[in-house]
């Protein structure tokens, strides 16, 4: 009988020992809101975990350097959804594009309180404001298409569709015209679609290089387009390399086209500094600079580290770069001087994907 008791005691002791290692229940990360609201800082859109969960928006305060995580859910009591693609501020409203969620959430850019939802979208990507009543929202649409949805800003509803090249992506407005980079979406394309913002009619499609995704206007009014190139079906090599293309918007002609050499690395994420004179982009495991006066691509990187995404803060004059680490946990955001010297880093959410400077 003593042996029986011994065995029993050891079974129970074992359970206690192992269960004793139990950590306390996890505690949700608390969100701190700056007293003055989300004014002087940078919004980081975090895509969210692959396949499940939700994306978030974090806020980095320039004055204190503090970061507020998941500010949308903590203010409004519901998550953004997957995949938080981008955010744009227009007339003090924030337009947060949720890709798989097929919607855009509209918030007050200072308090982040919800101010409406734009629904019935399919694979939305980016927003820009046109005037006080109208905005454009680019989306891939269903299948091998691309389109710009016309948004009524008073009602947050879609009032019309403009067909563009495949996979409508970033947009810029120059004068009364909107230039849409058509990145190919589920297929391939090679055009920038030009839309007359008054009539909502397509003026022309400018052939650039393969799969243009990002574009920026410089100090001289010229438009720069970064084309990612076209992969083979196995994504092992580029059948068309990437290129950096300059367009003169006054006649929509290409004035410079600089092909990249690599057949295994696609350039991406074109940004421009506060003076609109130096471009930066991600290429081949580094961040490269390109002066707008230069007619050759730089051979050496400013930052020798590959990133998931880039942004340029025109206020602090610094480059924001994101590292999603393992794509399953909170990523990192690093700040760099334009010289390439790292300033500091802070935590973003899961897969930090885009930046919106306020």
């Amino acid at each position: 009988m003593r042996k029986t008791q011994l065995i029993y005691a050891s079974i129970i002791a074992l359970g206690i020992t192992i269960s004793g290692c139990k950590k306390d229940d996890p505690i949700a990360t608390a969100t701190t809101t700056p007293a003055s609201g989300y004014t002087n800082g940078v919004f980081i859109t975090n895509e969210g975990p692959y396949g499940s969960g939700t994306g978030t928006v974090s806020f980095y305060s320039r004055s204190t350097g503090s970061v507020s995580a998941d500010i949308f859910n903590s203010k409004n009591g519901f998550p953004l959804g997957n995949v938080v693609q981008s955010m744009e501020i227009f007339n003090n409203k924030g337009y947060i594009i949720v890709n798989n969620g097929s919607k855009a959430e509209v918030v007050d850019a200072t308090s982040f309180a919800t101010a409406g939802t734009i629904s019935n979208l399919i694979n939305p990507r980016y927003f820009i404001g046109i005037d006080n009543t109208k905005g454009y929202l680019s989306q891939w649409g269903a299948g091998a298409t691309g389109e710009v949805k016309i948004i009524n800003l008073a009602t947050n509803t879609v009032t019309g569709t403009i067909n563009t090249g495949n996979g409508a992506e970033q947009m810029v407005k120059i004068g009364n015209y909107v230039y849409v980079a058509c990145s190919g979406g589920y297929v391939n394309d090679s055009v920038v679609t030009v839309i007359d913002a008054t009539t909502n009619a397509v003026v022309t499609n400018i052939n650039v290089g393969a799969n243009p995704a990002s574009l920026k206007t410089d100090a001289t009014g010229q438009l720069w387009v970064l084309c990612g190139g076209q992969w083979n079906s196995g994504y092992t090599a580029l059948v068309k390399t990437g290129s950096l293309v300059r367009i003169n918007p006054s006649n929509n002609t290409i004035t410079l086209s600089l092909p990249f050499a690599s057949t295994t690395a696609a350039p991406s994420h074109l940004i421009i500094d506060q003076n609109l004179t130096t471009l930066y982009y991600i290429y081949n495991g580094g961040v490269y600079a390109h002066a707008i006066t230069s007619s050759v691509l730089s051979a050496s990187a400013v930052i020798n580290r590959g990133f998931y995404s880039l942004g340029f803060d025109p206020v602090s004059h610094s480059i924001f770069a994101s590292d999603p680490v393992d794509y399953m946990s909170n990523g990192k955001v690093l700040r760099y001087q334009t010289s390439g010297t790292v300033v500091d880093s802070f935590a973003g959410g899961i897969i930090p994907g885009n930046f919106c400077f306020h």
Binding site: I7, G53, T54, D326
Partner: protein, 635 residues
């Protein structure tokens, strides 16, 4: 609807309590198999913890899927994407691809992704579900890392003709019909099982992922499935038997959106043919077994919103032979070969049409005491595959009686999991140079069992330890392309408890059971080096879960209540995000009326009776209370 539910509930309770029904069938009495099993799992899986879900339990879940069965009745964590949606299993904190599912000894894991969707397997298609915990590469080869689910079929000879028809209706337009006809003669048994199931699954829930948490109806969740299982058993002579089985199934389901999505248009269609045959010769000195299987499975996944229409088809041919004999009185030797040929065809998603041939040699040597109270086994398996080095996987186990009422089990096994076709040959990112995931698992169980007159007691505790190295993870490379690599190392360990108490007084039978798991599954080597996921719990692995069930039966009436608790699950690898624990209670009431030469069985199943709002996977909605009422007529 709510009132109707209440009426059904009250009616069923009254029916259950009145107890006037004339009956002799004890519905929780389990049918004992008379035949001595020749299965490897029964004879050579020694020292591993195992659980048998008997025919009485399977009867209760006959209209449900294996996913529903295991969610409520086992210690296996079932990762479900929602009602009618995909569900996979996690044994002891391992991945879904680390479970081997054997149907009468044949591995059903898809060669494409190493998974099997348990929501697509009808519980009623097996009459014995056996869960074997722990790794056992030596017995089952690739994939038997976390544990093994064995779905077995057997029908005894000489039982006459039996038939049953079941129809049920449940919440969310859930309709199920099943028919079963068995002819059991002296030397021949034939059986046909048919099922048909369709549901809208349009349950209402408060969508906390949308502004103002609106009441929403689940959309795009319709499913239709039907299937047939045909079995024949033939006793050739005193020593020889042969059987054939044929399984056809067709599934067509829409994939509902997550709570954060507004629309979804995804659909998945599966169609499968599975044919097997087994021959056995049992003798005093020598047992010979030969089995062959051919599986042909098609899948079509389409989603118009993301421009996807992917088709695939896999064919698997398995041939296995075993011979069993003894050298002296108290030992058994088992030597076997297995050849498995798998190919994926009719798909545009691979670089080449992938094909794989695996040949395996396996052997076990078992010794036991004269009274069979103690047994010990050593086993080993070596698989051979072109261009891949597969480790030799040994295992050793011992179990036996300790003192009067205790049983001790000890096992140590090596395990491995080969990369799947998707891992190796996916046209966008496949990596043909992957190594198998591999490691060791060890476990010790102690059980205290006693039976005093009509009172039965069983308390068991198991401690386990397991390492998985070279864990394959898909990560995006510099081109943004996702590609798999052997990067992670995961250490799992934990303790599992179970308790069963039963008591029979007069015609009353009461049983109570409880299960508790505490599992730590931590990342010892992360995907990117020294990141914040180091030493953290794997995502979607609950540290704690517990289950309890209570059954009371009197004559032909039975009432069962089952309660399952699942603890915190992390959703980010740095463990900063998590899902809250949840408890789900289900009630099952059945009444059997025995008529002259037939019987009638009525049942009511109430799921999630406490209306728990919960998510198994982040933002995948689950229904509140639902019901199912059904009737079986049998002879």
């Amino acid at each position: 609807m709510n009132l109707f539910k209440k009426i059904v509930f009250v009616g069923a309770v009254l029916l259950a309590l009145c107890g006037k029904a004339q009956t002799t069938i004890d519905s929780i009495h389990s049918l004992k198999e008379v035949e001595v099993s020749v299965l490897r799992s029964e004879n050579f899986a020694i020292g591993n913890k195992s659980e048998h879900l008997d025919s009485a339990l399977l009867n209760q879940y006959s209209g449900s899927s294996v996913a529903d069965l295991l969610t409520s009745e086992s210690q296996v964590f079932i990762k479900s994407y929602g009602l009618g949606s995909m569900a996979t299993s996690s044994f002891r904190g391992a991945g879904a691809e680390h479970t081997t599912i054997l149907w009468n000894g044949f591995n059903l894991q898809s060669p494409m992704n190493g998974l099997i969707d348990l929501s697509l397997i009808p519980s009623g298609f097996s009459n014995d579900v056996h869960l074997q915990y722990g790794g056992s590469g030596a017995l089952w080869g690739s994939g038997a890392v976390g544990g093994t689910i064995l779905l077995n079929n057997s029908i005894p000879f000489n039982k006459g003709v039996s038939a049953a028809v079941t129809t049920s209706y449940g919440s969310f337009s859930d309709r199920r019909q099943q028919t079963e006809v068995t002819i059991s003669r002296k030397r021949l048994v034939s059986s046909v099982k048919l099922f048909n199931h369709d549901a809208k699954n349009d349950f209402e829930y408060a969508n906390t992922a949308q502004f103002n948490h609106p009441e929403q109806k689940q959309n795009n969740a319709e499913l239709k499935e039907y299937g047939v299982l045909e079995e024949n058993y033939f006793q050739i002579n005193k020593h020889q038997k042969i059987n054939t089985r044929f399984w056809y199934q067709n599934n067509d389901r829409n994939i509902p959106p997550s709570m954060t999505q507004q629309v979804n248009a995804a659909n998945q269609k599966d169609e499968l043919y599975r044919a097997t045959s087994e021959w056995q010769r049992t003798g005093d000195k020598l047992t010979l077994l030969a089995r062959v299987a051919y599986f042909d499975e098609r899948l079509r996944y389409s989603d118009s919103l993301i421009h996807l229409d992917a088709m695939s088809r896999t064919k698997v041919t398995i041939a296995e032979g075993e011979t069993r004999f003894s050298i002296f009185k108290y030992d058994v030797i088992n030597i076997g070969i297995n050849n498995t040929y798998s190919e994926a065809i009719d798909t545009a998603d691979y670089i080449l049409a992938p094909a794989q041939n695996r040949f395996a040699l396996f052997a076990s040597y078992k010794i036991h005491t004269k009274n069979n109270n103690w047994k010990a086994v050593i086993s080993g398996r070596q698989e051979f595959m072109k261009n891949t080095t597969i480790p030799f996987t040994p295992s050793a186990g011992i179990e036996g009686k300790l003192l009067k009422y205790f049983t001790l089990k000890v096992n140590a096994s090596e395990h491995y999991h080969l990369p799947t076709f998707n891992d190796m040959y996916w046209s966008q990112g496949g990596n043909p140079n992957l190594k198998p995931e591999s490691g060791w698992s060890e476990e010790v169980s102690v059980m205290h069992k006693l039976r005093y007159k009509a009172f039965g007691w069983e308390l068991g505790a198991t401690v386990f330890n397991r390492n998985i190295d070279n864990w394959i993870i898909w990560l995006p490379g510099s081109s943004g392309l996702w590609s798999p690599a052997n990067v992670m190392k995961v250490w799992s360990r934990g303790v599992e408890y179970k308790l069963n108490v039963s008591c029979t007084v007069n015609k009353w039978k009461v049983s109570l059971s409880g299960l508790y798991n505490y599992v730590l599954s931590s990342v010892e080597k992360t995907t990117t080096g020294n990141d914040a996921s180091l030493n953290k719990q794997l995502i979607y692995v609950p540290i704690q879960n517990a289950q309890g069930s209570f059954t009371i039966a009197y004559k032909g009436t039975s009432v069962s209540y089952n309660h399952a608790y699942t603890g915190y699950r992390f959703t980010s690898s740095d463990n900063t995000e998590f899902l809250k624990p949840y408890s789900v209670g289900n009630l099952h009431i059945a009444q059997t009326f025995n008529l002259k030469s037939s019987y009638l069985r009525l049942f009511v199943q109430l799921n999630n009776v406490w209306k728990e709002k919960y998510q198994v996977i982040a933002y995948r909605a689950m229904p509140l209370m639902s019901y199912q009422v059904g009737i079986t007529l049998g002879i």
